[in-house]
Amino acid sequence: MSVAKPLPHDAAKLHVTGAARYVDDMPVPADCLHLAFGLSTVAAGRITSIDFDPVRDYPGVVGVWRAKDLPGPCDCSPSNHDEPLLAGNTIRYLGQPVFLVAATSHHAARHAVRAVKMEVQKRDAILTVDEAMAAESRFEEGPRIWKRGDAGEAIDAAPHRIEGRIEMGGQEHFYLEGQAALAFPQEGGDMVVHSSTQHPSEIQHKVADALGVPMHAVRVETRRMGGGFGGKESQGNALAIACAVVAQATGRPVKMRYDRDDDMTITGKRHDFRIDYCAGFDDEGRLLGVEFEQFTRCGWAQDLSLPVADRAMLHADNAYYIPAMRVESHRLKTNTQSATAFRGFGGPQGMLGIERVLDHVAHTLGRDPLEVRRLNYYAPTKGGAAPRPPAADSPRDILAKKKELEAHPDEDLTSRGAQDVTPDSSPAPTVPEGVQTTHYGQPVEDFILHEMTERLAESCNYAERRRAVAAWNAENPVLKRGLALTPVKFGISFTLTHLNQAGALVHVYQDGSISMNHGGTEMGQGLFQKVAQVAATSFGVPLESVKITATDTGKVPNTSATAASSGSDLNGMAVKAACDEIRERMAEHLAKLHQDNPRDVRFEEGMVKVGGERIPFAEAAQLCYMGRVSLSATGFYKVPKLNWDRLKGQGRPFFYFAYGAACSEVVVDTLTGEHRTLATHILHDCGSSLNPAIDRGQVEGGFVQGAGWLTSEELVWDETGRLRTHAPSTYKIPACSDRPDVFEVELWDGRNIEETIYRSKAVGEPPFMLGISVLMALSDAVAACGTGYPSLDAPATPERVLAAVRKLRDGV
């Protein structure tokens, strides 16, 4: 059986020999054109004149396009149709593509765009949260508000109360492979697009829309990405559309890739957040009521900001039961890059808000933050309530859905930015006795963090190290240590319920080899390997018998983005459904041949056991072929139990929760603010792991990326709206030497209580938030410098840490 084995990545040998191809590595015909965007140089304004003659005259230039030269708006938005490929005369952020140049080489195109003479009348840009709030510049009509009970009343009645604010920066994806697309025009106006994207169906939809052709005329293929992290869910649309439009206009193949500076200047990043909080609690630190006000700069276009901000609200409880709660969320429109999906999708920001509250509460009472955290955990549930039969779909309000579709005829249904006015699916969740619900009404049925925390605290010697840190800090005036153990509870599923579906296509060839395709994309997370393991296990064949082919909209249609950590859950189940179907057909035929019962046919160790005989799988496939049995099947899966109304903020948006806990110890130089993570111990829940090696990699990598977000990765815009950190020289990504000196990762040995693929759990995003332990440890170290609460913002760069230390020591 292949599942649960720590097998290496499916393309491992290709990667280490340099033979693994990414979009920019694909051979192209000699007549291939290369594109570059000309970018705006102000954050807001109006173009008054533009002279392209020097651009056209540049050697190698074949064509120049402005918005008015395009076949239509060529919208790139995954949601609100507010992102034209090229700006008209109105400029909305610094770095916005204004025109497009096609040339015979990448360098010629890049050089040529700089020859443009463009005059712009500047306008005042809205850059900050305060500016946007003052100008009422926002998406949606007003703030979204979800609540349970009366938080204000609960806080007023509470024995203790704190108020505070945390600011947290955004984050550049810095996928090592920049955005890239390559379009090949086909006969009859068809188009084949190779794109480095997490969402081939979205690319297909947007390209078809731009070209004015049906979706069947566009085929999108994605073999792999050199990293995605959410940055390739919608941000690749512009390149693919540009390539397709120019390919259609010229009849030549067209390639586009962003240089790093352009990539960082043009594309969206993680949403930065400001969270104001007010909490009431008892003498022990038990939360009685919490109010959050979340502000996020969404940038110039809506993109996926609404579901991102929703997820921040959904994770404002993290692992804690809060009897009265109010979350208000402001999605602000600013003249900056359009912030987008990034691992965690708002979850980390919401979670950091409540972790800050817990830290602040503990500091106020002088209690160990871990004790206060545990005190507030959701009630333990002993591995979850008794399983219930899967609920049948409730009757839907078909008319409302139809009306909704009619109102938006070109709605991009496979995007997370799609509207979801009419909730459908299962009936509202029932709450088993003794189970607490989240502030949005979802029962927390498998709350295993009590046991996980216990085990981690023990294995990392938390109590002893807490004493050692205190002793160290009492003796050392300059170097201060800090320790923190923080939990993660992360909801798994797309919050746009209808996206929780997947398809797969499986072929068994007459030589017993198996070809498999699904809607998920491979970006390093090991999805292909995990899904191939599922297929190999289904047929009882060695993994080498299974070939995973590039994601292709011509093979599996209407796929969701490989996002929300859902890749293995959704595609694994869809592949299993297809394999089961073929296996049943084979079993039936072979049983008939051997006068056996189909149910007794076994597929194991490369053999098929039937009627007391053992036939090699290849021979079995041949027999089935000769018996005219179809050896090809599609598989389909949809996640059960979901029911979510985002307008009310009520229901069950998540199939289940994934859990984790991390303990980090840091040391801070209080004279410089420099700091270092001395040790991190992690215990993470992957359910029954499909591949422990891949899962460990996700946990380690997620933690490092999360810690990077909160410590070293700082995005800086100047007062004109120019992003000053547009290269790794000024934007510090964790390097090999930045990982903790001691780094222990253990996987929790448990099973998902829900029926997921082999009872595993999703692992892409949850570990990212383990990085919060580092920020909390830094806060702990800074707190040792005085008596006040540090209120440390993120990223906690040495500069910020030093400022926090000084504030505590000198009150400045």
């Binding site: 693994a20 090592l176 920049g178 380690e700 020289s729 030497s737 990982r739």
Partner: protein, 165 residues
Amino acid sequence: MSPSISLTINGEARAVALDDPRVTLLDLLRERLDLPGTKKGCDRGQCGACTVLVDGRRVNSCLTLAATLDGAEITTIEGLALGEELHPVQAAFIENDAFQCGYCTPGQIMSAVGLISEGSAGDDPERIREGMSGNICRCAAYHGITIAVQEATRNMIRTDKEDAA
């Protein structure tokens, strides 16, 4: 007239006319010589994805002008394995899950080969981490990378000793 250079790439002597004297080694490899295994990450010498060996020394090929390499011996990721037999560093990267998306991997491996031959890190993990810190891995497979370099170093020392004996 465009300048031309002679250099050895992965053991093969090549004479290359440079259309543009400003072309970098990275662009020469990727766009002229059909060797796209070397990756372009930042194109400004800060991410390490483009690392190759020039006369056995690791360099960022995006910052190296091809015109300065007349007579040089270049090794890229494509030239590391002996036919089907992987270089010990390549094998150790697979063995220790030292990558996820794979895009930085050619640079990491070339950097590791360079580091090991520099001989200054030995199998000390802290020195390896420091010596490999010029190669960014956004997936943060650093744990595996460190162990892979450590293991490859040990294997190569063992093989050298066996060869000497």
